[in-house]
Symmetry: C4
Subunit: 311 residues, 4 copies
Amino acid sequence: MFKRIKENGKEFGFGNSTIGKNQRIVNKDGSFNVSRRGLNIFQRFSFFHWMINSKWSVFLGIVVLGFLTSNAIFAFIYDVVLGVNHFHGIETHSPLKNYFELFFFSSQTYTTVGYGRINPATTISSFVAAIDALSGVLYFAIVTGLLYGRFSKPVPKIQFSKIGVVAPYKEGFAFMFRVANKLNHQLQNAEVRLIASEIVDENGRASRQFFELELERKEIVFFATSWTIVHPIDEKSPFFNMGEEEFNRNEPEFMLQLKVYDQSYSQDTFTNTSYRKEEIVWNAVFEKILISNENINYVDFAKFNDVNYIS
Amino acid sequence: MFKRIKENGKEFGFGNSTIGKNQRIVNKDGSFNVSRRGLNIFQRFSFFHWMINSKWSVFLGIVVLGFLTSNAIFAFIYDVVLGVNHFHGIETHSPLKNYFELFFFSSQTYTTVGYGRINPATTISSFVAAIDALSGVLYFAIVTGLLYGRFSKPVPKIQFSKIGVVAPYKEGFAFMFRVANKLNHQLQNAEVRLIASEIVDENGRASRQFFELELERKEIVFFATSWTIVHPIDEKSPFFNMGEEEFNRNEPEFMLQLKVYDQSYSQDTFTNTSYRKEEIVWNAVFEKILISNENINYVDFAKFNDVNYIS
Amino acid sequence: MFKRIKENGKEFGFGNSTIGKNQRIVNKDGSFNVSRRGLNIFQRFSFFHWMINSKWSVFLGIVVLGFLTSNAIFAFIYDVVLGVNHFHGIETHSPLKNYFELFFFSSQTYTTVGYGRINPATTISSFVAAIDALSGVLYFAIVTGLLYGRFSKPVPKIQFSKIGVVAPYKEGFAFMFRVANKLNHQLQNAEVRLIASEIVDENGRASRQFFELELERKEIVFFATSWTIVHPIDEKSPFFNMGEEEFNRNEPEFMLQLKVYDQSYSQDTFTNTSYRKEEIVWNAVFEKILISNENINYVDFAKFNDVNYIS
Amino acid sequence: MFKRIKENGKEFGFGNSTIGKNQRIVNKDGSFNVSRRGLNIFQRFSFFHWMINSKWSVFLGIVVLGFLTSNAIFAFIYDVVLGVNHFHGIETHSPLKNYFELFFFSSQTYTTVGYGRINPATTISSFVAAIDALSGVLYFAIVTGLLYGRFSKPVPKIQFSKIGVVAPYKEGFAFMFRVANKLNHQLQNAEVRLIASEIVDENGRASRQFFELELERKEIVFFATSWTIVHPIDEKSPFFNMGEEEFNRNEPEFMLQLKVYDQSYSQDTFTNTSYRKEEIVWNAVFEKILISNENINYVDFAKFNDVNYIS
């Protein structure tokens, strides 16, 4: 009757095991609520991924730390391994101040500023300074790439309604979720997929099952403002003839995937979210948010999560 | 009968409200004629998007302004917080000229030119200069990324005809729009979608409705020159048996989306436009623009918007 | 009967006009044999496209020319507008040598080398030098982006057979074309589309018509070596029951589009070519080129265009 | 009955020849086990592809080598072609030490450090130094692009099970392979295609044939953890009613392609692998690896390749 994705969740990308009753599968921000064991750090870790996705403070902290560490190491080589007499222009006489002079000489070399007051006077110090400069150029080449990766990473700025509603629809009811284009970006060809999961009693054994839900409309051509995603609770729906109490007992989760082409980045982008039973409001409709008059059309985001209850 | 996208525009990405009678939905340049309220600046604004899409004059102005501001701030630290005696090589004696000397010392540090006539003589000034240099390197790393983002952003250079026509087609009529490849770029697999919107009287209540229109041909393999997009006004069309007067009364809008793979950018690109009633010419056909003789095939863009009226 | 793309070529992306009898539509290298008139240079020209697609010699020539021109202009400002007395460290005395000193001072500033022997001694000269340095940094930021654009532009290195054949196929004949993966790149999900064009006599009027040809197989999952593209000449083909003489009289052209995901660039890539009547060999089969023995599988590209005639 | 891709492998992208009995077609790492002959080095080689895909040690080695070679050449021009008297600031007197001074002067110029102790004193030496600096800037622009290309190249970090199993499925059996998302990346819309190849006896002639196998499920929306790919051995399968012995005699190979959108790179990515008869375990099921309790869901990768035999 209804279109089951998979009994027991096996082929749903959540492995061949039962997922716990109270465990969220997809987090509110769209990430997967699953950890990994049995892999070492190199198998689990992707440097690029991490540097692209970490916070700006962390990213910049690492860049500055790498810079300072490199300067400290080269200053050690200049000062301790070689000695200040390998350099012209050092004007200090205390060991600590010498070290600082050479530390900042390294800074000037690494960033390729190269004022030249301090400069390498011997072949060996010139050689180490050349390595210092080459390291700096490559370091900032990597940083340039990572910065570009951070900026050019598509962030579609899609807003999902905090809650879903069970609203009247035609002769019956429908689950509805709302999604909006927060920026006035050109978002094209939006497609949505809605997966539901619930605990199903099968031959006396309770197991979590997954279903792809039929939608009134799966795609829109221009995603200009907001879009209400509608799953009609008809005889094809796994929630057909289910009351609120049974619904809550089944620990349902609605996982929503929105794919849209973002013209700012010339890329298809994906945004996910998920709704648990606590985030579904029964017998309510979303407040209208597109206001239109003679002079202007606008979306009122202040009312984006507002609903009107139906008595 | 005809294929309605949505009654009342709700699931068309324009929200759950009626759009005004005289409001354009999609602007001529393809952007959406909708604003946003109830979001703060950080929610509405995307730095990368803005720096990529702003005019060259604005972009370069901001880059120069950032450069000068940074120099001014570092010069303030050098001159006022530390003092000129922290530097070698300053040859001026008036406070203002000292400030300028240190301003341009900062310029030289920020761009990593580092002539070295002026150079930091103390640990603290060396430290600030190192920060100055690091800031400069990172600043220009960002600028490099943004410049690349601007250049590599696909701009398909598609030309849409300024007007559409209602032209004879088979035994009846068809809406026709013309689109051309302005550059001799390799454009592959062009796909077009045409959405119409009009005011429909439903049970005495006038509301704006949306329809996806059937096209004679939705895609072409090679988009070499120009393409006439044809919507036959047959019994499946929402405009079937509608006269010019009724048509104009219904405040129609035709929204056109062209998706095409641009080989210059190795990307799918989208270009939109829209036609209102004023931009539809009845009983006219487009002038021929592909001229072919023994020696050459060429497209005559001078005639691109020309039509011949049918008596 | 057969699947016509379009009578009169109108909706094929070649405009609403008849294309000449002897005019190639798609060139051998896949570009379109159509020029443009009635557009000014800014409408027709894309700087990024041109810098990405020009030859290396042209690209590097422009980069060097831009560098030298900039140096010459700044040297003029330094030397003629300001004068040598605005600079420290100039050791020459003849006007020409002074100009060269300042020309190379500009080179050192533009590339941010900044040796510092020559350095600006006044506020105004420091200011111009700061602009010089900023210009240089931005110039090379653009060059960096263009270089990356050139390198990262997908070049799928697909080889098409120089000729097509009319070869025996099942009980009849088929047009066959051969395409190969020249590098050992991972090419995935190759899709091919074959468009034919010929002069068709319709009610006494000869016009060029276009047809999309049915293929035995339109896509392959792994494009490891070579692929023979087969259009069976059955009753669905516009060439059914057509002899070699009639075929040649109709001035046919076969336009081939290959779309394939190139794993080196993580992009879909397109490669086109075209075959005219002179490039179709009748009654021939392609030589086998995949050689396999106990130790190795290899493709023998030396035989790639070889055919065996059938008596 | 079953869905044959191609008799004799001709249109499978492996050319029009029989592939050897004992030759692997797709390697375990997904690359193609085919070499190329009859092409010269320029036809076969792609610089960008190679620099992007080579090991880090090779890449960095080439970058350093290019840097040192360039310095050596410019030092030769400075020292031998021009002579040390064209430079200020050289403090050494032996020919070898002079060469090193100028070698490191070139390093300082190429990286744009430009300390300036050594600096060009004549027009001709200034000119060569300008070329040196320009070369350096362009060299590191290329290196920056290549570094970004290396980092931003999608590496989906998909893990395939080392072996496949023939496991009980419904009333019969199925081939099963396991694939997992090793990182907690957002992988969306995973699609899998499974191609089998085996030696088939056709009219007494043994030839290698290819089949695309039907799968229980071809795509999943969220690829969060692991996915078991299932080919039911029913009457539509080319392996229907085939025993282990006959299976092994036919030298089968299973080629698996996984396409998935990786949100870290905003790209579709492909990962391939292949299974030969030695890598197929009969009468076994995969160990469960998704563990779920009150507090956490996790994937136990230590058991990823474990199977339980069925007696």
